[in-house]
Symmetry: C2
Subunit: 330 residues, 2 copies
C-alpha cells in the first residue's frame, strides 16, 4: 500500500487535468492558470452548468464536461474545495448571458466557496443559481458535512440538468430539473480497503483483514459501522434496503441503477454486485429503465462500491436518455 | 489484501456474466448453459466475430460485444481458457452463413482450445478463420506463451475488424484488417501491486514496498525486471521507447494511444500517465489521432498500467472511427 504512479504529490491535479484534456480528442480545454476544464466551444448559447470539488473522485467532475452535460468543472486539490476565485473564473468562461447553474456536492468547504463565487458572479451581473446534492443515506452529518453528503448521485444531476439546458430551457427550469433529481436520488456505499492520499504515508482509515465499512463517504470519512466482510449479495441487499426505505420506492416504479466502483475495485466485482441489485429490484417489481456499471465517483484507489437509485418520473426518463457526447453517461 | 466483493469463488464467472448482460440495457444476452455473451440480435447477416479467454480481464471481452465490435465473447474460468465446446457453441450461435473470425490472444491454452473449436466448426461446414494477437513487447516467451503475449492491443483488433465486418466485407477481408492491426500494434505494462485471484489466499507475485515490476502480463506472470519505483513520467518514457523501437514509428506517423488501467489503478494516475505519453509522442513529431484512457484489459485488481500504440495507416483510421454501440471504444 502507499505506492502511486505519480510524479510529485504537489502537481497531481494540474498534471491530471492536462491528461484529461489530452484524452478528450480535442473536445475540451484547460483554462490557463487554473485547474478548470471547459468545453472547447464555450460559451455556448444556453444555460451553462458548472460543477467541481476536491480532486481524487475521477472521472468526477472533469470527465463529465461535454455537450449534454457540464460546461465546466473546477478541480480543487485532493479532497479540498476549489477556491471561490477559480469557481468564479469558470463561471465567467462559460456564461453566454443565459445564466449559470452551480451543481455542488454537500460538503461544508464546497458550499462556502461556491456561495462566495456565486456572489462574485452576481456582482458582475451574471445570473446564477445553485443546487446542493445530498444523496448519501448513510449518515445525517459527517466529518465534513452538515446534513447528508453528496456522492455518486451527483452524476445524474449533471446528466439531467445538462439535457434540460441543452434543450434550451431557462435557468429556473434547469434548476427545477436538477432539484427534482436531488429529490429522487439516493446512494449508499461500502469499502473493504481505504483510499490513500498521494501525499500521505498512511491510509485515511484502517480495516482489519476480515472487515469492511458500511456507509463510507468519498473522502475516507468514517461510515456507519465496521463489520465482518459478508457475501456481496448480502451487502447489496443491505445497501438497497436502506436506499429504498428512504426513497419510498414501490412496486412498478421505474428507476435508474448505478453500480459505482470506488477506484480500486475490479469490474468483475461490480458486475457481480450488479447482478444481485437487478435481481433484488426485479423481485420487488421495480423496473430498471437504465443500468450503469463502472467508475463514476471514486475515492482514489479505495476498494469498495456504492449503489445509487434514481426514481424516474415525469420527464426524468427522457432527459436521462437524451444525447450527450460524454460516453460514460450514454 | 485478499478481500473480495464476491459470493463464492466458484461462481464468480457465471454471476459476472449475468451482471454484464443486465448492464447492457437489453442489447446482450447470455447463451443458456454457457458463460457466453451474445448480441441479442445474433446472428446478424455479416461476418461474425468471436473472441474470449480466461476471465479476470474485464471489460474484456464480454463488454466489447455489440454492433460494430464482437458478436460473441466466451469467458473461461479466471485466468483459464474457455473450453473448445463453449467456443464452438458461440460460433454456432453467431454464424449467419457468412463465416466467423476468431480473435485469440496468444496464450498456449487459448490457442489449443480455439483451434479445436475451429475444427469442430469446419466439420459442420462453418467457414472459419483465426487471428492471433501478440502485441506485448515485454517478453519473447513467458509462463503461458510461446512468442509474445496478447494483451490490451486486442481491443483494437475487436474494433477495427468489427468495423470491417459491419461494412459488409467478406471473411478474408475482415481477417486481413485484423492482421493489419496485429502487425501495427504494440503494448507494454508495469505494476506496482499484483493481482489477487478470487480463490487464492495469496497474490500472484510479490513486490516490496518500494518496488515495481516492468513488463508484466495480465495473469500475474513475471515481467522483465523488478526495480525501484520511479516517477510515472520516467516509467511512461521507458515503456514508450520499447514500443516505438519495436514498431519503427517515425516523425509524422499517426497513431492511436491507449492508456490502460490494470484494474486497481485510480483514474487520476492514468490521466497523469496520459499527459506524459502525449507529450513524449508530440515531442517526437508523432501525431495522436485518437486517445483512449481507462480500463480496457485488466488483471483483477492489479495496480499498474499498460500503454498501447497502434500505428494508423491506410484504412485503419476510418475503421477505428467507425460507429459502434460499445461506449468504451467510441
Amino acid at each position: 500500500m502507499g505506492k502511486k504512479l505519480i510524479n510529485d504529490p504537489d502537481n497531481v491535479v494540474k498534471e491530471m487535468i492536462e491528461g484529461i484534456v489530452m484524452a478528450s480528442n480535442d473536445r475540451l480545454e484547460k483554462l490557463d492558470g487554473y485547474n478548470i476544464v471547459l468545453r472547447k466551444d464555450a460559451p455556448v448559447e444556453k444555460v451553462a452548468l458548472v460543477s467541481g470539488g476536491g480532486s481524487g473522485h475521477e472521472p468526477a467532475h472533469a470527465a463529465y464536461v461535454g455537450q449534454g452535460m457540464l460546461d465546466a468543472a473546477v478541480a480543487g486539490d485532493v479532497f479540498t474545495s476549489p477556491t471561490p476565485d477559480a469557481i468564479f473564473e469558470a463561471v465567467k468562461a462559460v456564461d453566454s448571458g443565459n445564466g449559470v447553474l452551480l451543481i455542488i456536492k454537500n460538503y461544508t468547504g464546497d458550499l462556502m466557496n461556491f456561495e462566495m463565487a456565486a456572489e462574485m458572479a452576481e456582482a458582475e451581473g451574471i445570473e446564477i443559481e445553485q443546487v446542493i446534492v445530498n444523496d448519501d443515506v448513510a449518515v445525517e452529518d459527517s466529518l465534513y458535512t452538515t446534513g447528508r453528503r453528496g456522492v455518486a448521485g451527483t452524476v445524474f444531476v449533471h446528466k439531467i440538468a445538462g439535457a434540460k439546458a441543452a434543450s434550451g430551457a431557462e435557468l429556473k427550469e434547469v434548476k427545477r430539473s436538477a432539484e427534482k433529481v436531488i429529490k429522487n436520488v439516493r446512494t449508499k456505499g461500502v469499502a473493504i480497503n481505504p483510499c490513500q492520499l498521494p501525499a500521505a504515508e498512511n491510509s485515511t482509515f484502517s480495516l482489519a483483514e476480515d472487515e469492511m465499512e458500511m456507509g463510507i463517504g468519498i473522502h475516507g470519512e468514517p461510515g456507519t459501522e465496521k463489520v465482518k466482510i459478508k457475501k456481496v449479495d448480502e451487502i447489496v441487499d443491505s445497501l438497497l434496503k436502506d436506499i429504498l426505505t428512504d426513497l419510498k420506492i414501490k412496486k412498478d416504479d421505474k428507476v435508474a441503477l448505478m453500480v459505482n466502483g470506488m477506484g480500486g475495485t475490479p469490474l468483475m466485482e461490480l458486475y457481480i454486485a450488479n447482478r444481485r441489485a437487478n435481481n433484488f429490484l426485479s423481485n420487488k417489481g421495480i423496473k430498471i429503465s437504465k443500468n450503469y456499471v463502472g467508475e463514476f465517483m471514486t475515492s482514489l484507489e479505495m476498494e469498495g462500491l456504492s449503489l445509487t437509485i434514481l426514481k424516474l418520473d415525469g420527464d426524468l426518463t427522457n432527459l436521462l436518455e437524451a444525447e450527450t457526447e460524454v460516453n460514460l453517461l450514454k
